[in-house]
């Protein structure tokens, strides 16, 4: 999602038109953030559908021979990191609304660290799985989940990192003020982006919980 406001810059723009475009832009960031979650839901739903489809089919009695699972401690640790990042994102936004800019930034960068560590562990887990990718329906869907989860973590962490990096650079651009608190159009756009990003992290926490149950606990 874009975090800078670019109006049409039409040479004939009036102040009302500039404000109208700003409102449209803020609405777009809000709508886009939610629509992106809808889009992502359909993608993850196709994985969940595959999981339950193969589980209920149990073709060749090969859904999950010997009830073998991916390493549970890796799953829990990755989940805990993602949950922590999501909580920090929500907390950071809450503090930001109250004017706690430093709190938001500390929470945000910690969240980025959690995301990167989760990403590393999710990749490393490939070397620790006790099954061949095509050995069962479970093994296949787990590999699919792991690949999708890598994508999810990359997107979430990238979104968080770019928002934080932007806030540091914006301070110079808007005359030394905190973009988190300024009324400048770009700062408003920035805050709308923070809201959508936080929403997405909440969504990551929700889906991670679901997939933790599916792949490690059920």
């Amino acid at each position: 999602m874009t975090d800078t406001f670019k109006g049409s810059n039409a040479p004939t723009s009036t102040p009302e038109e500039a404000e109208f475009e700003l409102r449209a832009h803020l609405g777009s960031v809000w709508t886009g953030g939610r629509l992106f979650i809808g889009m992502y839901t359909f993608m993850l739903a196709s994985l969940a559908f595959s999981y339950f489809y193969l589980r209920s089919s149990n073709n060749a009695q090969l859904w999950r021979p010997n009830h073998i699972t991916a390493p549970t401690y890796y799953g829990f640790f990755i989940y805990a990191l993602l949950l922590l990042a999501a909580i920090l994102a929500v907390y950071g936004q809450w503090r930001l609304r109250k004017g706690g800019v430093a709190d938001w930034q500390v929470a945000g960068w910690t969240g980025v660290g959690c995301g990167l560590l989760a990403l590393f562990l999710q990749i490393w887990e490939f070397t620790k799985v006790p099954f061949y990718p095509g050995s069962s329906g479970y093994a296949s869907t787990f590999i699919g989940f792991a690949v999708m989860n890598i994508g999810t973590i990359v997107i979430g962490t990238y979104w968080l990192e770019t928002t934080l990096a932007r806030s540091l650079r914006m301070r110079k651009e808007i005359g030394g003020k905190d973009p988190e608190l300024s009324n400048n159009p770009s700062a408003q756009s920035f805050r709308a982006n923070v809201s959508s990003m936080t929403y997405f992290w909440g969504y990551i926490a929700l889906t991670s919980t679901l997939f933790l149950f599916m792949f490690y606990l059920m």
Binding site: T2, D3, K6, G7, N9, A10, P11, T12, S13, T14, P15, E16, E17, A18, F20, E21, A24, H25, S28, T31, G32, L35, F36, G38, M39, Y40, F42, M43, A45, S46, L47, F49, S50, Y53, L54, S57, N58, N59, A60, L62, W63, P133, G134, S135, S136, G137, Y138, A139, S140, I143, G144, V147, Y158, T162, L164, A165, R166, S167, R169, E173
Partner: protein, 653 residues
Amino acid sequence: MTISAERPTDTVATSATPPSSGSGVSRSQRPGWLSQHLGTAIILAIVGYAFGHWLGNYISGNYPYIVNSGQNSISATLGLTFGIVGWLLGIGALNYPLAKLVGKSAPDEVEVLGWSKYFRYSTDHKVVGLQYVVGVLMFMFTGGLLAMAIRTELLSPTTHVFGPGTYIEIVSEHGTIMMMMATSLVVGPLGNYFVPLMIGARRMAFPRIEAFSFWIFMAGYMVIFSALPMGGFTTGWTGYAPLQNQNGPGMTGYLLGFAVIGLGMMAAGFNTAVTIINYRAPGMTWSRVPVFVWGILSTAGLLTLATPVLFSAGLFGLLDRCVQTAFYVTMHGGSSYLWQDLFWFFGHPEVYIMALPGFGIVGEIIPVFARKPLFAYKISAAGMIGVALLSFFVWQHHLFQSGINPDMRPLFMLTTELISIPTGFIFLVGMGTLYRAKIKFEVPMLFCMAVFFNFLIGGITGVFLSDVPVNVTVHGGFFVLSHFHYTIMGGLLFAFMAGIYYWLPKMTGRMMNKKLGLIHFWMMFIFFNLTFFPMFIIGLLGQPRRVFMYAQNLQGLNDFASISAFILGASFIVFAANLFWSLWINPEKAPANPWNSLGLEWQTANPVPFHNFDRIPVIMNDPYHYSEEGATALADLGGGATVGSTTSESNPA
């Protein structure tokens, strides 16, 4: 502050940005052949492909299953993936996402002058729209040539031009290219160009995502086309497993191509939907939104929500090929039916992704040439939304023959039949508009009339096909083939042509030659029907799809269809000739509003200024009040200048 019809005219002095020829512009927009453009994209795509292919071989060249099979899907996948990354890097699509990592802001969206903008990563929706026109015509030309090859082979049941393997590869490539082209045929060119103009916006909500959708769409085209030199694939466009798993590296091109074009479709749908929801001009309530925009919005919804499933299905297929998972391998705990479910969960909404924009075009154009208000406008919009919603609940009818629980068949038969009701709404809206109208049979209108004729045949045969007994009887034959060509080509492609003849004067400032347009229309209409109607009979007589041999007694009908198809193909040469004639050889300047339309897109200057409207219009009415004396004008374009009333029909611009 709100924008109203009575508004001040002070301008924001600081916001003026002059057209640029270089300074202060992002690298991808900067003129000069040393910056990023199509040429650098091609070079980096080739370099990326070579590197990825080498890397794949380096990583996996010694794996036993790769050595034993002689096929390395990992190197093919990595080659194509790095090729795509190189392509995006070369065109400049990754500049901003990378710059964001260090907190840089988006580059200014400034006007770039000259032809070079069409070969670059432009964020101007009008440029992207025209880029899409060229892109979809490339798809259409390639797919069309393959169709000619198919019909050439079917001229004789005994004398063959191709071997059976080559024939099915051609059929598969034709189907895949055409289906992928059709998903973006209207949303890409006409949606990108005209949606902002029709809703009174100066820009798209996310211009870089819009540009990304086009350039990734073109990357997908090249990936799908690369399947042919990699040995092709023999599954048809549906890619069914287990045949999918047994195919060579060409299948990798198919799966990755679908996933990549899926990304483009999601990006296009996402951006369009957000733009329509948020950037409508003041006064443009939902009951004043042009019906074409309704068509694009419902399509954008489907693109955004159905395509991720295609993306996942393609990803799982690639994992099966590259890392030996078994999503679609029944003997290892997977299921070949899983592919069918995922594919058709996208695939059936895709049918409406193709149909709905066509309905939108027809709904937009016929009031202009009937000079009557659009009949039952709200029913039309409701019909489109209804079709879009119901399209998610019908996919299982594609599995009637392939192992669905028989108890589930009546449910999906019912939902499939139900969808004909909102489709019928749209049809009746068209008929109601035409009722007692004094129709002007201009070329765009003729194409619209043809849509009704063709879609009636395609739609009614679709109702037949939704019935399980008929479906079981004619499944997999030419009857089905003819049905979907009637709906997709007879519906969408004719509607696209209507849109091109109607809107090209706005896009290019040039009128298309009417005489050549009429020749094109009649050739296309007559020979489309002569090509595909006999195929219903051929299908009922038992000829299966995708098989290059057939019963001797069907040769007469097949030859008739083939010769008709060649003339149908020739009609596109007439279209191409018309384009060259009208745009370059003998250009005729288009009037500002050649069809006397009340649509907002015709009320702005010609050629359309970079910012579309000098002032954001205030919408006061919907654009369908033709021949209604005393109807409120469409919009105030600022300073009290109203446009789009019937009293200004003679020259509203």
